[in-house]
């Protein structure tokens, strides 16, 4: 279980997160929606301290971190419990597909190379890239690169995988292959927090939707609650702008 308590973050004078409280159950697929600048990505990045929160508490599993003055060890421990899939993939450019996935297993988790290799191949098969083990990221399409990114996160067997707009940088025709991989692993019961603009995906994969605006959580609930019967005016306006076709659906 993940608990976030009164998390705050400012960039200079700009308050990006204004005391966020959130609970995520084990196995939940959480989707965070909201207009740009609402703090969704910052919230995600605060969970593994790629962005340093100013205050509040984050706990993942049995580890609780006070964000005011976390020790280096606490940050490392938190990062070991999480994995992230980036908008721009961020694969290690000088390493092959297989090496990208193995890196964390060997260097961080200190697994033997043999065991790490076995696990990596298995995960890469799952994302459909078994034939590309020895390719470099520059030889792959965006969709393939992002699937490697997902495999790299999945292999670590973290408590939660954080997805930061995983399809935003992709050509429209490549979005599908990445979404279907995410869908597949969502069914396996891995806890995921996803920042995305893919509304259809949010509707059928998630079981917990959060709508953020201006650094606060405006509304949260099940996908049906948020998409069909939003209570807040701001949520309604946002959904209307993003998915005009939904109005006919009802």
């Amino acid at each position: 279980m993940i608990t976030i308590q009164s998390l705050t973050k400012s960039f200079g004078k700009q308050e990006v997160l204004k005391s966020i409280d959130l609970q995520v159950q084990k196995g939940e697929v959480v989707v965070i929606l909201g207009p740009s600048g609402s703090g969704k990505t910052t919230l995600l990045r605060c969970l593994n301290f790629l962005e340093r929160p100013d205050g509040g508490k984050v706990s993942i599993g049995d580890l609780q971190v006070n964000c005011k003055k976390p020790s280096k060890q606490e940050i490392y421990d938190l990062r070991k419990k999480t994995a992230m899939v980036f908008q721009h993939y961020n694969l290690f450019k000088h390493k092959t597909v297989l090496e990208n996935v193995m890196e964390g297993l060997v260097i961080v988790q200190k697994q033997s190379k043999l065991k790490a290799r076995e696990k990596s191949v298995q995960v890469l098969e799952k994302v459909g890239l078994a034939e590309k083990l020895n390719a470099y990221p520059s030889q792959l399409s965006g969709g393939q690169q992002q699937r490697v990114g997902i495999a790299r996160a999945l292999a670590l067997e973290p408590e939660v995988i954080l997805f930061d707009e995983p399809t935003s940088a992709l050509d429209p025709e490549l979005v599908g292959e990445v979404l279907s991989v995410i869908r597949k692993i969502a069914k396996e019961g891995i806890t995921m927090i996803v920042v995305t603009h893919e509304m259809n995906f949010a509707m059928d994969v998630s079981n917990h939707v959060i709508f953020m605006d201006g650094g606060v959580i405006v509304e949260e609930g099940t996908p049906t609650e948020i998409f069909r019967t939003p209570k807040e005016e701001r949520t309604r306006q946002f959904l209307k702008r993003i998915t005009p076709e939904l109005t006919y659906d009802i």
Binding site: F49, Q109, Y136, R152
Partner: protein, 216 residues
């Protein structure tokens, strides 16, 4: 002799440069300012000056220090060559520092974030992710620096070290064939330079394969 001077000062310079680049990039308080000052002072003065300052200044400093603490040691027992090594290492350090720093800065911030996200520490991230990419980016600059130091090492003849240039001078002053002697020396330098360029091209092909869609 030329090759020895070049190699030692480059290795010394690389170590100094790495330290300077790291304290500047990771913003180590105080050392960071010291590193910046070192780079600007050394790059702002000629290499020959460094050699003279070390060659004439350091022995005086050593002797007066030894006299002060009361150790019986005279700087005349130190071979001149060592002073050349020290002086040229200091020179090369400033230039290497900037080459390494530019290489590290060229590495995409996302690479570091990805490494952190899988749980790597700063040291692991630097060694496994940043450094290999930085080195392959700076390969051409490093090669230019190697060639620069190779040719710069001729300055050692001013403090009576017999490197290629001095050797040519000695030969010429016995048989009066100055032109021939210097042409021979020049050809030697060019030959070594060609070799360095070849090695660079080979390494570039090898190290940058990942950037070119796997086609070398």
């Amino acid at each position: 002799m030329t090759l020895l001077i070049t190699a030692v000062s480059l290795i010394g310079g690389f170590i100094i440069g790495m330290i300077v680049a790291l304290v500047r990039i990771y913003r180590v308080p105080f050392l960071r300012g010291l590193g910046a000052a070192y780079v600007t002072v050394i790059r702002g003065t000629p290499m020959l000056m460094h050699l003279f300052l070390i060659y004439f200044g350091l022995p005086v400093a050593i002797d007066s220090f030894c006299g002060f603490v009361g150790i019986h040691f005279s700087s005349t027992s130190i071979p001149i060559l060592y002073f050349v090594f020290i002086a040229f290492s200091i020179t090369a350090g400033a230039y290497s520092g900037e080459v390494i720093r530019s290489g590290i800065l060229a590495v995409d911030r996302g690479q570091v974030e990805a490494a952190h996200s899988v749980g790597m520490s700063s040291v692991q991230t630097f060694r496994r992710i940043i450094l290999p990419q930085a080195l392959s980016v700076s390969l051409l600059n490093i090669s230019s620096e190697v060639i620069g130091m190779l040719h710069g090492s001729t300055l050692a003849y001013t403090v009576s070290i017999r490197e290629i240039n001095a050797q040519a001078n000695i030969v010429a002053s016995s048989n009066w064939k100055f032109f021939e002697a210097y042409i021979a020396a020049a050809l030697l330098f060019w030959g070594i330079t060609l070799l360095i360029e070849r090695v660079t091209a080979f390494l570039e092909k090898k190290m940058n394969t990942y950037n070119r869609g796997g086609v070398a």
